[in-house]
């Protein structure tokens, strides 16, 4: 095998697609992504099988959902910007600040969403629509909460100085997951909030 250089110097662990962790995260995102495909399929299938209107009580209000969507997207932008700065400046104080802001925005999203759920005139067990609506938004909410736990851990590790020696693979992967959760929200938002408006 002549193509292998002699006594090469190779990175340990590596970053991005060079590391195995990145591929592991890609697998996680693939399987979670397809879970949402099945969730949206179930929602749409149940809708297609109804005799009456879907949703039965008219389209859901966008009054809270639109600002909430903007908040979640904003959190992704803040996180992406924070990581970008950290890669350039290696200033972990600033990184901690952006992580903190992301966590706050994520928490606001969860709070508003919980508030909106509480305002609904139906509960999980009312009918097929309520079941489908709550499982779709609920599974997403669970992912947001997991993402928040990840971000909080990253914040703690940042404050402990764990990322000072150039290991930011954890940061990159945590951010990737958070962006994924946000992109999924756009699909969920479109399915459960936007599409019913056009009926």
């Amino acid at each position: 095998m002549s193509e292998t250089a002699q006594n090469e110097v190779l990175p340990v662990g590596g970053a991005g697609p060079v590391s195995t962790a990145w591929w592991g995260m890609a697998c996680l995102i693939a399987t979670e992504g397809i879970l949402f495909v099945y969730l949206i399929f179930s929602y749409a299938y149940l809708g297609s099988q109804q005799n009456g209107p879907w949703p039965p009580a008219g389209p859901p209000s966008l009054k809270l959902a639109i600002p909430n969507t903007i908040i979640l997207i904003g959190s992704s932008i803040v996180l992406g910007w924070g990581l970008h700065l950290f890669r350039r400046t290696r200033n972990s104080r600033r990184l901690a600040t952006t992580l903190f802001v992301t966590v706050v925005l994520g928490t606001v999203f969860v709070t508003i969403q919980g508030f909106e759920w509480a305002q609904k005139p139906f509960v999980f067990s009312t009918n097929a629509y309520s079941s489908a609506f709550f499982i779709l938004t609920g599974v997403h909410m669970a992912h947001v909460v997991v993402g928040l736990v990840m971000l909080i851990m990253l914040l703690v590790w940042t404050l402990m100085g764990r990322f000072n020696q150039g290991h930011h693979e954890h940061l990159a992967l945590g951010a990737l997951y958070w962006h994924f959760v946000d992109v999924v929200w756009l699909a969920v938002f479109t399915t459960a909030y936007l599409v019913p408006q056009f009926k």
Binding site: Q6, Q49, S125, R162
Partner: protein
């Protein structure tokens, strides 16, 4: 250029042994992440489940031996056939293949371990715990009783009020975690943890099979997990996913289940076909005919396998247009399967067959696959399916497919790799007895079921009337089932005896071409003292095949092999052409996988018992364990890879 024991560098071996060896005692037993140990655990556990499922089948065969017998009550029969199906499909068929792949992959690929050793341990523990979970209500007579596909509304709370189906639905979600984790590990291992030079066109077919199955699992398992969660919510939280009264739709269950179920069936057979594609040619003394075709048809079968799920639902009243589409897709899937069959036959035909036990099992597999494939092809036709569905014809078909394509290659594969795993040969004489007993028993048991089904006997009913005229056919099936069981016992006896008194095997007793045969039998804990470098598809047959002038660097501690002895490490390569790109530090023994599994078990038992504090406790355990697992550890940014001199 296989190096012999005398060229090995003792200090290097000692260093590697010290870094790689599992700790002794109970701690090491619970904390090991060695893929070989985990692989063997998978094999043994799955085989135990096979015996349990087999015992359930035998009891059912006794009940069915004659019309109107009262060996089992209808309720007990429901539980037995449900647990038989669930056990065989979920707890035996895939885990046994994961066992082979776990054990063999790093050896075949020339790596020192899987990409994520701790995830590997996790997927085993979760499999074990989920298996126990599925059986937890068996002793109190409340085992799952809705069949392995658990159709609603039969499984709704109204018609099935015990905890039977709660155990089923939660158990499958639990087990699904193991499957997905294991699949992700296989995918990343294939893409990144291979010997330099092992480009994708040089992979053993078994690797192709398991990789394809894993990719499918990653995309299919969430469907059944979601369906099971919905079923549990319908039963325990009053939701209306499948409940018509609340606007739900029972067919949603069938869609989600079979969107998972059909790809799953292929996941159960593709790695087993891979076992045959790799091991059969060894006994034909030639490379596999049509390597590329077989690899492509493996992937093609899987892709098509995602588009045929409705053929399980032909009789549910779906629109004719949709039935025609899925019927056509089901016919098309015969093409890649046939390509495989013709390649295996051509390999035997153009080779010099050696009629050793593994060969017999693999050749038997080809025959059974053709029979099972043809009956499957028949039921792809909507008109015929309407006649045959839910009859014993389907039972015959699915057993030809699952035993033919899974059990026969698995038993052949055990005979084939047993010497590698244990350093001892299995007895040929007993092996041949095993084969003929199993083959005859199997056909005597299942061939008559085609006729029983055509005569109208429905499946999943605990007995039948004498005037149906199927009593004698059922008696033959029962006799065959017991003959088959004798074959299984012979096999176990052979394993037990060969472990103690089998002839020493040597490194490569079958004179096989792939990397796992270049290391010792059993392999050292670090697999290879120096990382092999691969120059062809058949590294150990290069001198003989003379396909090119390039030679692989294979063997234990050979010049120019990578040493990688600065801690527990192996090499990571680029996904397609396998150029080394990174040094991978591997984790040592760890209790975290077991802790994570225990937390998960608390969570699922909490859901089963509707106990909030247990759920919370499990959840906390999960978060703490995961935080410990994922804590970043400092390491060097780069490292010089030394070559052995």
């Amino acid at each position: 250029m296989v190096a012999h024991a005398d060229t090995v560098d003792p200090p290097l071996r000692r260093r590697l042994l010290e870094t790689w060896e599992t700790a002794p005692g109970l701690y090491g037993w619970l904390a090991t992440v060695d893929h070989k140990t985990i692989g063997i655990r998978y094999l043994c556990t799955a085989f135990c489940f096979l015996l349990v499922g087999g015992a359930e089948a035998l009891i059912m065969r006794v009940q069915l031996a004659q019309p109107n017998l009262k060996v089992l009550s209808p309720d007990a029969y429901n539980q037995l056939f449900s647990m038989h199906g669930t056990t065989m499909m979920f707890l035996y068929a895939l885990p046994i293949l994961s066992g082979f792949s776990n054990y063999l992959w790093p050896l075949m690929l020339g790596s020192r371990d899987m990409a994520f050793p701790r995830l590997n341990a996790l997927s085993y523990w979760v499999f074990l715990f989920a298996g126990i979970f599925l059986y937890v209500s068996f002793p109190i007579g409340q085992a799952p009783n809705g069949g392995w596909f658990a159709y609603v509304p039969n499984t709704n709370l109204k018609y099935d009020p015990g905890i039977n189906m709660d155990v089923f639905s939660l158990g499958l979600v639990f087990l699904g975690i193991s499957t997905v984790v294991g699949s992700a590990n296989f995918i990343v291992t294939l893409l990144r943890c291979r010997a330099p030079g092992m480009s994708v066109n040089r992979l053993p077919i078994m690797v192709w099979g398991t990789f394809t199955a894993s990719a499918a699992n990653l995309l299919a398992v969430p469907a059944v997990s979601l369906a099971c969660i919905m079923l549990w919510l319908d039963r325990r939280c009053g939701t209306h996913f499948f409940d018509v009264a609340g606007g739900g739709q029972p067919l949603l269950w069938q869609h989600l289940f079979w969107m998972f179920g059909h790809p799953w069936v292929y996941a159960l057979v593709l790695p087993a076909m891979g076992i045959v594609s790799d091991a059969l040619p060894v006994f034909c003394r030639r490379p596999l005919v049509g390597y590329t075709l077989v690899a492509i048809s493996t992937v093609a079968t899987m892709i098509l396998g995602f588009g045929v799920w409705v053929h399980h639902m032909f009789a549910t009243g779906l629109p004719v247009m949709s039935l025609s589409f899925f019927s056509a897709a089901s016919f098309v899937i015969a093409v890649p399967s046939a390509i495989g069959v013709f390649c295996w036959i051509a390999t035997i035909w153009t080779g010099k067959p050696q009629f050793k036990t593994p060969f017999l099992f693999f050749a038997g597999f080809v025959m059974l696959f053709v029979i099972g494939g043809v009956s499957g092809f028949m039921t792809a036709s909507v008109a015929l399916d309407w006649q045959l569905t839910d009859s014993y014809f389907i039972v015959a078909h699915l057993h030809y497919v699952l035993l033919g394509i899974n059990v026969f290659p698995v038993v052949g594969g055990v005979h084939f790799w047993f010497p590698k795993m244990t350093g001892r040969m299995m007895s040929e004489r007993l092996g041949k007895w095993t084969f003929w007993t199993m083959l005859i028993g199997f056909n005597v048991a299942f061939f008559p079921m085609h006729i029983t089904g055509l005569m109208g006997m429905p499946r999943r009913v605990y007995t039948y009337d004498a005037d149906m005229g199927v009593g004698w056919l059922n008696l033959i099936s029962t006799i065959g089932a017991f003959v088959f069981a004798v074959g299984v016992v012979l096999f176990l006896f052979n394993v037990w005896r060969s472990l103690r008194a089998g002839a020493p095997a040597g490194d490569n007793p079958w004179d096989a071409p792939t990397l796992e045969w270049s290391t010792t039998s059993p392999p050292p804990v670090y697999n290879f003292a120096t990382i092999p470098q691969v120059a062809s598809r058949y590294p150990l047959w290069e001198e003989r095949l003379k396909e090119s002038d390039e030679r692989s660097i294979v063997g234990d501690a050979v010049p120019d092999g990578m040493v990688l002895d600065q801690g527990k490490e192996t090499i990571g390569v680029s996904p397609l052409d396998a150029v080394p790109t990174v040094v991978l530090k591997m984790p040592g023994d760890s209790l975290l996988p077991l802790l994570l599994t225990i937390g998960m078990a608390a969570l699922f038992f909490g859901m089963l018992a509707l106990s909030l504090w247990l759920i919370v406790l499990g959840g906390i355990c999960e978060i703490v364990t995961l935080a410990a697992w994922l804590t970043p550890k400092p390491h060097e940014a780069e490292e010089r890879v030394e070559l052995y001199e």
